[in-house]
Symmetry: C2
Subunit: 314 residues, 2 copies
């Protein structure tokens, strides 16, 4: 029986231009890592958090990873306790699904150490409890793709209806995280409660096109569909030089480019590693022009969700 | 060289619950028929219209079939003239895509008699000119599925972007046409210019689910996705006993049920002919209870678009 496990779970891009609140995908990098260790007594102890400059609470019931595992144990009526080490490998509050990566890695690791009593699908509600602690709402458009890999559709929240969308293997993602702060709360607040009917029609034409484009696959259709006429025009105001940076991505050959989650990170999709790198360089240069530093991550779409990095007996 | 041809083109269901303005599908029946005959002189003459009690104009430049063929000939710089017979086999202004069926049958027939100078895809703009005459706008969500068969997505109108959605072969459609009048203009007018953002999110979750459901195929996903929280609640007010009739369809086993086009016809999708018939009976009975007569049509999804019924030398 394994006593310890190290699990990686991926960063994720939610909203994906025309898929506000209902679509997300996982990237191969970056991602968070957790180490779970069985304890000889019940309860969760977070023994270490690295990579986040003391921003995350160490109390399990306030920590996204802690809450997820606590909820899982409670559901299973399980007395086993765990030590959790949390290694943050991506910026917090950046629109890259950082909290979802931690909660997904944690519940996946706990389920493994318990001998997999639950299916992967059944783990989602516990990861969502972690999201609730981190974001105030149990949004699934980061946690579901982090858990399943690929593109994932959240057709409905009530009841929760999660559908894996077959994802073409050739897509590469460029993520850029400008070193500015956009609070998720602010990004939510500036959205209007009412929108134009004609804009909504354009938007649902595009999400329908994007789903068809991914499934066919038809890359030109994906390109034409990666447009957001409702949220991006409002939220991009919070990201300095957004239009110029997006334009740089498109001119460098990206299929499309928009805000990742609620920002300030941006994502671009390309058809090759080479293009994705060129896109990243161009976007970074564009932000440098206005003296904003940024991190760039280039990777393929993650197709598998969390991954076991190491396990062993204590 | 053929001098005469008889072509059938299918009725179509536009909007398809969550796909307002962007999705339509063709049914195997009913459908309109046109007979085209080469003339020895240029110009179009409509020699006969049956099945419509004198409601349609006989002047080619005012008639949806006439306009479509005139535009096609003009585009080709073609001097060949045609006689057109139009045999309406479905009710007009009923939400079944009657004008689209006539214009699609006509341009398809003309293209055939001219030796197919244009691809099927290239015929769409001319059929849309016919739609413009009939409806005041060049909506493509009837004409495109009538021309291509199956489910067709109109991702965008500007520029026109039409995508065929692979369509599962097992779907059967029940169409019911209650003998009441709903003017397309009125059906348009009662829709609001602004909608709730949260409703739009539900709607684009459902259209994404419906496209994925059709392509996977996943019939339970199609069932869950065939919902319209924006247009149906408003337009159904114009159709007496709508809720009861829809309920009767669902209780009889339909995957989903909504308004066909702008009504007053309703459609339901089912997984077998038997269920589709049961659904039709239940819906018709429901309308009989309030003394509204109706026509019911049961058929598979049309997968091929227009069909040549007969051709020959003069």
């Amino acid at each position: 029986m394994k006593n310890q496990i190290r699990v990686y779970a991926p960063a994720t891009v939610a909203n994906v231009a025309c898929g506000f609140d209902i679509l997300g995908f996982a990237v191969a990098a970056p991602g968070d890592e957790v180490v779970l260790r069985k304890r000889n007594q019940p309860g969760i102890v977070i023994t270490k958090i690295t990579g986040e400059q003391g921003q995350l609470p160490i109390e399990p019931e306030k920590n996204t990873a802690g809450v997820s595992v606590l909820q899982l144990l409670q559901h299973l009526g399980e007395q086993q306790g765990f030590e959790i080490e949390l290694h943050k490998k991506m910026p917090l509050g950046s629109g890259l699904g950082s909290s979802a990566a931690s909660s997904v890695a944690s519940v996946f690791a706990a389920n493994e150490l318990l001998g997999n009593p639950l299916s992967r699908e059944a783990l989602l509600p516990f990861a969502l409890e972690g999201e609730r602690v981190a974001c105030g709402a149990a949004h699934a458009d980061n946690a579901a793709p982090a858990l399943y890999g690929g593109f994932v559709l959240i057709r409905s929240y009530d009841p929760l209806d999660v559908i894996r969308i077959p994802t073409p293997k050739t897509l590469h993602c460029t993520l850029i995280h400008p070193h500015i702060e956009v609070r998720t709360e602010d990004a939510r607040k500036i959205l209007k409660k009412e929108i134009l009917f004609k804009d909504a029609i354009v938007q649902w034409g595009n999400i329908a096109g994007l789903i068809a484009g991914l499934m066919l696959p038809d890359y030109e259709l994906i390109r034409r569909s990666l447009q957001d006429v409702i949220i991006e025009p409002v939220r991009s105001i919070l990201i300095p030089h957004f239009q110029e940076t997006k334009q740089a991505a498109l001119e460098s050959g990206a299929l499309g480019c928009s805000i990742s989650g609620s920002g300030p990170s941006m994502f671009a999709l390309s058809l090759s590693l080479r293009t994705a790198q060129k896109v990243g360089d161009a976007m970074q240069k564009c932000l440098e022009n206005i003296e904003i530093e940024s991190d760039v991550y280039i990777s393929k779409i993650n197709q598998e969700g969390p991954r076991i990095l190491a396990d062993g007996a204590a």
